[in-house]
Symmetry: D2
Subunit: 298 residues, 4 copies
């Protein structure tokens, strides 16, 4: 990666920071067939429908390679969040296919997450996930899963009350990721199984007048604005569209045909999604931190 | 509702349209106690934390009354979508607490939805929901649920490939709604239970070279851009925070106390969310329709 | 004027503030002829060309009545600038037709400006202007002029270095005003008559290390960012398009015809532009003040 | 210049186009002294005031080198304007110091402009300008001037009626350029010397119902929206701040001192501003062209 602008002698200048990563490992030959055929559940067809032209080598912007810019920018956002605002973000793999880890979001550390290749902080479940992904790879098939994320240290008051609710911006950030199909904050879809009396987070104050909630089904956000509790959310990622099995599809002439994936094949992108989820969360939060600073100097 | 600008003799002028709805049924007396105490899982505390002041009568912008502007604006967007672009939007109640309706999104009509008070197009399940909500009301408690939505008639090519993916804008729109805790498009969270070979939507062309997919787990969007299939998504709404039971909370002085809701009490907002979900979907889609028109005149 | 939202008991709530002014003095009958004919140098033709429909009563958004919203919003911005940031804005009439006042921008007070109907702080020149405008009125003709503006109290560092230069945002704000045809900051067009050695503002520091410039041809902004000196700019307003004399024009069928203005007729809008210029300057500056606060908390 | 994204086989992809120009001719040694001292009327002091740090080598973003990105992007905008919308833009030098060319904006061609080094389409006046600039160079001094610009081929209806008036966006674009101190459209400041009866542009229709105006003091824009006549505007550029003469200034410690420019020295930037003015005009117009297309497909 090169830094082409915005930094001098290790200090940022206030100038936009241009981070450039050359794709040095493109293998256009792998993509020859898909220049003519549309991969099922990929963006080949929709790009052609929109633009009438498509950068078929490597998948263009529909490739998850696109996310490197998000992670690079997110690294700067995280630094600012940590050093200036005391905010820490950690994400982890919570589910791969039908294998679900039961994670306590408040105690997860980045070391635990990085301790295994599948980025699941429960080492026993992680081992199952790794074995299962390996078996799926051998089948030439793929699986998806769920990433969880916790943000600790946000003060109460960040966010916006109507259209730019903090959870709304987080939802947009997550759904902007390749393969993401769902987002939930706090109790999420599962919260609909509870009654109000079971779901509400009761406020309490300690002896030092610090406010907290007895539970955190709100996921740290109420009415679009942080309440000082950890922000908790999840994002669902579908199984990778590219599989090494023959599938029905059409070609650019709209003729029915079949296509069999080849080349590099990642049977489960969920572990790779972890740093991307963290990066997007950081970008959303740093925006709201600066907005809050504009709003309230003191 | 008054129209204060933008319309002359039944025609829009190109001028911003100002729709004004006066709140003629405010009952400030009902809110007296909550001017001093924070309702659990409501936005009272976070508004105070952010603004240091709060329009406690009626709940201010945290009240679902706020959504009337969305529905009014959405009505105009829907008209444009229908008459100019041939797009139809229909939403419905799919789940209330633990009662789940099995709905075919492609056959649901607005008449079916409006046929009962709970806005569930399955009349048998609707009846269960109505009875259950009634029982919950008598308990002074509340329940949440899930709204489904289908958008038919979008051509392939609407949307954007990276940050403004169509599903990302829909997610933001839904999570900007009061009480919304989750969003999923197409297969959503459930899609993580499938393998890639089970999840992929195979493309097919009919004899007239019309393209379709055999399944629609993508929910009509691939890589942020519509593929011409119906757009399908769901939004989860938590149980109403206001309940008529005593709850632990704090007051503005950060002293522990209790609060018991009073006044009007809606034990389940999910049926009311249906037109709001439709309105927000319409606003997102009309934006993308105009963007697409800017992009590609022909 | 009514305040419909955003204020409670004399305090702002953080909610958008809706200020509503009903136009109670519309005289549609005055505009009957211009529903069919295009007034020369007015926006009738261009509105029809863009929208295919036109709110001909009162001129719609092309009427200077539109600026009441700017002045109302600007009043709030000025309050914030004054009380929180110590910034004061004063504008005045500097030129009417060929009558030019020689004003020292640093000593002008609002009282001097408001002391006469033409808002020119030089009472002798003001008297000439008033008599001249009166003569022009009797001819059924109109004149334009130039408004000057000074902003005092801005600290160094407000603004942006490239596309959103402070002078760029001020220029846009002024050219967005009805009848405005020109903008200049500091030495402006006249500065092109000087050599660099005559034009440059030399920096000096006093004994307390306060920085100032010996001259202020930069108009308080260098490279898009304030330097702590007063911001000085001018805006030119063309003679009012509506005159009470017969003029050649066309009708909606694109047939040649003539039109003679009638109804209320303001032979010189420049004095009325003074508070509007101040309001727009305030709106631009308060935006940059908040951006600076976001950028640099301390 | 390298194209790093957005183009494949000579076709645009719909992807953002990244144009990269490396600064291969930086001479940091020339800037050694100004790392400690503030050049008068340059952005050194204001950058330090805003950012507390400054890329002193080459002047950072305050250098006119920054405009290469505008010109590169403008080249693409011009292509789109010409080929899709039939719009042509030409700018020229109209004034250098006290030497003024009397140019007919409607007959100027790019060939005439590019025919001499000072980019003034009047060859006699151009010769005077060249000799004068040469004399100024020998004095180590600098001069500024005025650039004129004409845009032909815009249909009626582009622009916006209130805040985003086309002239407002053009004004912002011009004032965002380094050294620009003024903008005027149509009759501009000079228009204030006329009475309404002298200033108004009378509409006429020819036998084919084509609409035109007898004069064009409006500069092709009325009420923020194009009227189909050529768009005419001017921008004033101050004399270059960098001169080779000793000037009073301060250093970073706020001590009074003197500074004498050295290194490369351009005594008049106005000819170089011509392609930059054209580029910025193109960027503004292509935005409005796309907005108009979004507004009105047919």
């Amino acid at each position: 990666m090169e830094i082409l602008s915005g930094v001098l002698d290790g200090m940022t200048l206030g100038t936009p920071i241009l981070l450039l990563v050359h794709n040095k490992d493109a293998r256009p030959a792998d993509y020859k067939e898909i220049s003519e055929k549309y991969r099922p559940s990929h963006a080949d067809y929709t790009y052609d429908a929109k633009y009438g032209i498509r950068a078929w080598q490597g998948g263009g912007r529909a490739s998850a390679r696109e996310t490197i810019g998000r992670v690079a920018a997110g690294a700067i956002a995280r630094k600012l969040l940590r050093e200036r605002f005391g905010v820490e973000i950690v994400a982890w793999v919570e589910k791969v296919h039908h294998i679900v880890a039961n994670i306590d979001p408040l105690s997860v550390t980045r070391d635990q997450v990085e301790d295994n290749i599948v980025r699941c902080p429960d080492p026993v479940v992680a081992e199952h996930m790794i074995q299962h992904i390996d078996a799926i790879r051998k089948q030439g098939d793929s699986v998806g899963g769920v990433v969880g994320c916790a943000v600790k240290g946000c003060p109460a008051g960040w966010g916006d009350p109507v259209f730019d609710k903090l959870e709304a911006d987080l939802a947009k950030a997550m759904l902007s990721l390749p393969a993401c199909k769902g987002f939930e904050v706090g109790s999420g879809f599962g919260g609909t199984d509870l009654k109000g009396s079971e779901h509400n987070d009761f406020f309490r104050a300690d002896l030092d007048k610090n406010v907290y909630t007895e539970t955190n089904r709100s996921g740290g956000i109420q009415g679009g604005i942080t309440n000082g509790q950890p922000i908790l959310f999840r994002a669902a990622f579908k199984p990778t569209a590219t599989i090494l099995m023959e599938q029905r599809t059409i070609n650019r002439n709209r003729e029915n045909t079949t296509l069999k994936g080849r080349g590099r094949h990642d049977p489960c992108v969920v572990p790779r999604a972890v740093p991307i989820v963290e990066a997007m969360a950081a970008l959303v939060l740093v925006d709201h931190a600066l907005r809050q600073q504009a709003y309230n100097k003191t």
